[in-house]
């Protein structure tokens, strides 16, 4: 989707909404939360929306740079079935947006991309994005390790660049739909918390203290309205 089109979608999205229904069953307790979701607003205020539209209308990377970012992203985190990789996670678009949203990153990103091509040209006589994978990896191998005890700010630009790209690629992937599926995160949906599963406790050598658990919520009575005696003892 081109940039102009995506802005149009955002504006149209203001009036379009979808109804999402989440439900789950735990013991005999039905949890139902019906939420009407504004598909494109994601809870933004009008001022925030305006800023988003402004950022979306700007362009940070040219086509060549975007292609280079795509190539580098998939080297950093190769796609893997069934949850794809950076392209399916829209990581290049995410990096383009973040570069505009947090402009302090721009010099490192733009400068780093130039360094990649310069290095690749010097070494192999070809731009990074069109080099062979083995050549690309040789370049990456030069810059992908760093001493974690030295602040990144004090390390060479190309080292900073690779570390930043790795952060953005991994974060971009694991905050995407495919990445969250790959991670296996089970939250962000209505449920009833009733403690850590026994096999997980066993795995980590932990156990619940029966006295503690005795004070915790009995989820089968969560729908019964709370009543107390005068001392504050829960009766229901």
């Amino acid at each position: 989707m081109d940039r102009r089109k995506s802005i149009q979608t955002i504006i149209l999205g203001a009036s379009a909404s979808a109804v999402a229904f989440h439900g789950c069953r735990v013991e005999n307790t039905e949890v139902e939360v019906s939420t009407v979701t504004e598909t494109k607003y994601f809870g933004r205020t009008p001022e925030e929306m305006e800023r988003l539209e402004k950022l979306n209308a700007e362009q940070l990377f040219n086509a060549h740079e975007m292609e280079t970012i795509s190539v580098l992203s998939t080297i950093i985190l190769p796609p893997k079935e069934p949850h794809g990789g950076p392209i399916e996670a829209e990581v290049p678009e995410f990096i383009e947006f973040m570069g505009k949203d947090i402009p302090e990153m721009q010099m490192t990103l733009l400068g780093g991309l130039m360094w990649l091509d310069h290095r690749c040209n010097t070494k192999f006589g070809v731009e990074f994005k069109t080099a062979q994978l083995s050549q690309q990896k040789q370049i990456c191998d030069e810059i992908c390790w760093h001493n974690p005890d030295v602040s990144l700010d004090e390390q060479p630009l190309e080292i900073q660049f690779f570390a930043l790209m790795r952060n953005l690629v991994v974060s971009g992937y694991y905050t995407s739909k495919v990445g969250i599926a790959d991670l296996g995160y089970k939250g962000n949906m209505p449920n009833v918390w009733d403690g850590v599963p026994q096999e997980v406790l066993d795995q980590h050598g932990m156990a619940y203290d029966p006295e503690w658990i005795g004070k915790c919520v009995d989820q089968s009575k969560r729908h019964i309205i709370a009543e107390w005696d005068e001392e504050g003892n829960l009766l229901t």
Binding site: F42, D101, S171, I180, K186, G187, K215, R222
Partner: protein, 573 residues
Amino acid sequence: MQIIENQDVYDVIVVGSGAGGGMATKQLADAGFKVALVEAGPFFDPADPKTMTQLKWPYESPRRGANTDRAFGEWDMSWGDWEVEGEPYTHAEGTDFMWWRSRMLGGRTNHWGRISLRFGPKDFKGKTRDGHGDDWPIGYDDIKPYYDKVDKLIGVFGTNEGLENDPDGFFLPPPKPRLHELFYIDGAKKTGIPVYPSRMSMLTKRINNERGICFYCGQCSRSCSVYADFSAGSCLIFPAQKNGGQVKLFVNAMVREVTTNEEGKATGVSYINKEDRKEYKLRGKVVVLGASACSSARILLNSKSPQHPNGLGNSSNLIGRYLHDSTGSSAAGFIPGLMNRKVSYNEDGTGGMHVYSPWWGDNSKLDFPRGYHIEVWGGMGQPNYGFGFNANDFNKFFGLKVGGYGDGLREDVKKYYGSVVGFGGRGEGIARKENYCEIDPTTVDKYGIPVLKFNYRWSDLEKKQAKHMQDTFEELIHNMGGHLLGEKPGKDQDYGLLAPGQIIHEVGTTRMGDDPKTSVTNRFQQLHDVDNVFIVDAGPFVSQADKNCTWTIMALSWRASDYIIEQLKQQNI
């Protein structure tokens, strides 16, 4: 420009719709009074799908939840943070204060941590205890009945433990601890630090038929759309309206000053309507300020008249003085025992912690006078911007290389997911006359209202307390078999003591007392100088405790409201 005057006369004008203003509105409207509720921000209802962020996924946003627009990340339900566009504040040289403002109906209660702790008997008598600060004119017995009522009206989970300075209450049952919290309980035991179920205002059990029950998304900071957590809008203001109360809401209405007559009594307020940028006047028999400790001080200091030349209610010259925030210092640790976690289950739980440690120490044996409680965080949370940064930094603890690329990164992310535990110490600083806010005569906000200038410095007592926090956290992490992350902050960094205002518990600017020379309000939060003006936010606090202030704001606001109702009925004001 002519000021537009509304001809209605309200029984009570409440300024600010957060915990204090919301509670006063509820009590006064329930008692049958005609209330005007004036809020500087727009209308907000946590159930409105247009503004809702609850249950959003990171990929619904191009910035994946990053905090560029909102200081606590873009899902946080606070419109405004330490910076509000067009509403600056200034500092005296060499001092620091960060002032959080939420410009919306319900204010900061929409995003707060919901940690709902009663002050204990000792907290009201600090000076008697250790010679620092001052005693409150009231004690725990005065406020206890109101804490009880707040527990039952709002709902709070916790347990009765019979602790001396962390009183029992009317609790809903707490949720079970998460895995990292079990590690914490074990680690704390080794050092002799007690751990109890946390006390937080989410409904783990139904309290009435109007509000929903917690469905454990862990997103209370996004404000609950089924009203299963406490926010002033959903739990106080809307119920007051549904109850048939006469509550007239004025939103986007930025109060400039309290207006007065020739006798010096309050006649109402003037405000700027943010939509047409014109000044309006409202008339009322009683004015109740609940704009937040600093905003109420600002309004009073800006309310100058021949009868009140240095600001309304300021004959003591103490408005703005004794400003104090909770102390805060934090640490995090990597716990190898929490590596390689099964992701087979959802452990979002309630928002924030399921367990905590109230202050356990004996200050008579320590080099600082007041305590702190420990908040715990960790777990397999929702990935948002920043998740996966430095994905394999922890390799260094195993003598492995840090960095690289390729399939190994996926394994690193999963191996370390949920293996970090963090601690926040939240303690009591001493209220000092020398720490204050005042009007900056050289600066106005975009509504033309003179702004606040802050003068605030921590003393050695708070720094020593922060040192104790850091030493404690280091020991806890060690006990849990973990590694402290980052450098332990030393003396040169004040032991990681956060800037005042960063904990967002600022109190004390209009403190209560029996002597009008040394306090701004009386024990019913009525201005000594003007009998028809009350303050129901945290301004009247004589001292912050090692507790969060919201439950006490609400209990005191209810108590002050009962007094206002009685005085209005007796026609005393």
